[in-house]
């Protein structure tokens, strides 16, 4: 109920922004009858129609997770974002071991198993990608080796 209504409202704002942005598209000197703006306008309009429908005829509320599960999703997201930014400067092995270890611990809270999973996945995948598939991966931070 509320979820569909909030989502619908957000999508209307997004669609209006999309349409507004579409009005600024530069039209080429000799445009075709449709031009580069029409299709985006149609899409934006369609989204608004669907969003209104969702707001006025919402489905039964989705089964939202309790706060604790939600927190673990937030942690996983932070881990993934951190992984994204450390992959280049720190090389493959250390960030992969850390990220995989934390994710593994989240799924099954056994610290030793999680550490082994992290290190095992990092080394195993590195060997597979570097030597099996010949992808150019940097194992350690530049300058270590």
């Amino acid at each position: 109920m509320a979820g569909d209504r909030i989502f619908g409202a957000v999508m209307i704002v997004v669609a209006l922004g999309y349409i507004l942005s579409a009005t600024t598209i530069q039209v080429p000197l000799f445009p075709d009858p449709v031009g580069p703006k029409t299709f985006p306008f149609m899409i934006g309009g369609g989204v608004i129609v669907c969003a209104l429908y969702m707001m006025f005829r919402p489905d039964p509320e989705a089964d939202w997770p309790p706060l604790r599960s939600l927190l673990s999703l937030v942690i996983a997201t932070i881990v993934m974002i951190g992984y994204t930014y450390t992959l280049k400067p720190l090389g493959f092995l250390i960030p992969t071991a850390l990220a995989a270890g934390i994710l593994s611990y989240q799924l099954s809270p056994r610290p030793v198993a999680a550490i082994l999973t992290g290190v095992g996945l990092a080394v195993g995948l590195f060997v597979l990608f570097r030597y099996g598939l010949d992808l150019g991966l940097q194992p350690f931070p530049r300058g270590w080796l």
Partner: protein
């Protein structure tokens, strides 16, 4: 004669040692992907595509590898359905209904063999039918102009969306979000749109990033939320023998299931899940009271497995001949083709016959490889099934990241992938289907292009979109495809939920 010379060309490619090796590897990986709960054909193929692509394979090799994975995943899905009562992927859901009861009665081996042979029959017949039918549809598609293609894309959205969600507004919303995302970037026309000075967006959103995010990363979130319940094999798998009597008794079941599945697969949007559902339901009502359905009837594993594998082959028909995928996984395969700069459609059959016929010949061979892997060697996969989610899911995440990273090397794409992952999780919670988003991103550019070309041809007359009989038929089918599920749902509930 045409067919024979085409097949000869196909086999000359498929029988090269390298292609054969790729097919075997693909079948093996595919069966694992299918067997592991939480890794279905679409997300399994999705995480492998970026890696395949960064290996620099040529088009035929990449396509052979990925379609072998696709076929393999369809075979493998039944293994965990039977042993764990958890479908390894969505199309294998119906197989749990009789497969798990059979396993509990100590007939796990029989169930695996019967369903493995049924998978083979379904996939093999579908590959033959694909081979016979596809050239005709390709020839028909030659008559398609921009108006027909526009209507065809509409049909794909309406049927795929109509089947994917219980709420048509949400399905339409998902398609529109995908189309909206497809508009970002320079596109074919060269006019930059929705870029707002961000250079990363100039080339548009890479659909592989969206696919891996929506399918694979979101799966990790779903698993985390459910706290990755440990799966354990509750039934024993004794020696696997060939139950000759039961195989003979289910032979016609397999044939019927294959035909129903193939038809369901060819229809755009229906896909393998519907194929197995329809095959099971049809068989159940055909056998009637005499059957033992739901309590371990061998026909209850033969029908859905023949149906789902035949549908997998059927879904390749619209994808190859029209460039319109019939299911989530074929949408992912379409993304692969587009990344390789291959435009599926009628011209594929004339311009790149080696791709089409090499693929078809490989699929014929792959079926025998899969039969060998899934019947005599099935125990290997049963062992792999015991990999706990705490190892599997981090592994999937890392492979997703490395795949996208080695493809683009940009942190922006990785962040975008995470964003799509969160979006996928949220949308799945809200019963907003994610496959139409992918379809929108894939087809958005051509859909707009065809609309603009149609209007240029007609000097801006919108009635031109309905000017040919084919176009009108496609429009009617599109509208029916969108509206019919609303009424059908009142009579036909979704496939029965697995509760025990």
């Amino acid at each position: 004669m045409d067919l024979l010379s085409n097949l000869a060309l196909g086999f000359s490619i498929a029988l090269s040692p390298f292609t054969l090796m790729l097919a075997v590897i693909g079948c093996f990986l595919g069966t694992i992907i299918g067997a592991l709960p939480g890794l279905g054909p679409s997300n399994g193929v999705a995480i492998l595509i970026p890696i395949t692509f960064s290996l620099g394979f040529d088009a035929t090799s990449a396509l052979v590898l990925m379609t072998s994975v696709y076929y393999g995943a369809m075979y493998g899905g039944r293994i965990s359905s039977i042993l764990l009562n958890i479908p390894g992927d969505e199309p294998a859901l119906m197989t749990t209904l009789d497969g798990y009861p059979m396993a509990k009665q100590g007939k796990a081996g029989d169930a695996l063999v019967i369903s493995g042979v049924a998978s083979f029959v379904g996939a093999f017949l579908a590959t033959i039918a694909l081979m016979l039918l596809a050239p005709y549809i390709a020839r028909l598609a030659y008559k398609f102009g921009p108006a027909e293609y526009f209507a065809l894309y509409l049909l794909a959205f309406s049927t795929l969306g109509g089947m994917a969600s219980n709420n048509q507004a949400k399905a339409a919303m998902a398609s529109l979000i995908g189309l909206g995302l497809a508009m970002i970037g320079q596109g074919q026309s060269g006019t930059p749109r929705f870029v707002h000075g961000n250079l990363h967006l100039m080339d548009g959103i890479d659909f592989l990033v969206a696919i891996v995010g929506l399918f694979a990363v979101s799966e990790v979130f779903v698993f985390l939320e459910s706290h990755g319940k440990e799966s354990s094999i509750g039934v024993k798998l004794e020696k696997v023998t060939v139950p000759v009597k039961e195989l003979a008794a289910t032979f016609w079941t397999m044939i019927r299931g294959s035909i129903i599945g193939f038809v369901a697969g060819v229809l755009p949007g229906a896909g393998a899940s519907l194929g197995s559902f329809m095959a099971y339901m049809a068989e159940k009502s055909y056998i009637g009271e005499k059957g033992n359905f739901g309590k371990g009837d061998p026909r209850g594993v033969a029908a859905p497995e023949a149906g789902n594998n035949a549908a997998a082959g059927g879904a390749l028909v619209p994808m190859l001949t029209l460039g319109v995928p019939g299911s989530g996984t074929t949408a992912v395969l379409l993304a692969l083709l587009m990344t390789l700069n291959i435009t599926p459609g009628p011209t594929l059959f004339t311009d790149r016959p080696e791709v089409v016929w090499g693929l078809i010949a490989t699929l014929l061979i792959a079926n025998f490889v899969l039969l060998a892997m899934n019947v005599p060697m099935v125990k290997i996969f049963v062992r792999i099934l015991m990999v706990p989610p705490a190892i599997l899911l981090p592994g999937v995440t890392m492979i997703s990241f490395v795949g996208i990273y080695s493809l683009s090397g940009s942190s922006f794409d990785l962040l975008l992938m995470i964003l799509f992952g969160i979006m996928g999780w949220l949308f799945r919670k809200m019963d907003i289907p994610t496959v139409p988003i992918i379809l929108g991103i894939l087809l958005g550019g051509s859909m707009e292009d065809n609309l603009r070309r149609a209007m240029t041809l007609s000097g801006g007359d919108p009635l031109y979109l309905f000017s040919s009989p084919i176009a009108v038929v496609l429009w009617v089918m599109a509208i029916l495809g969108f509206v019919a599920p609303i009424f059908l749902r009142r009579y036909l509930r979704k496939p029965p939920a697995v509760t025990d």
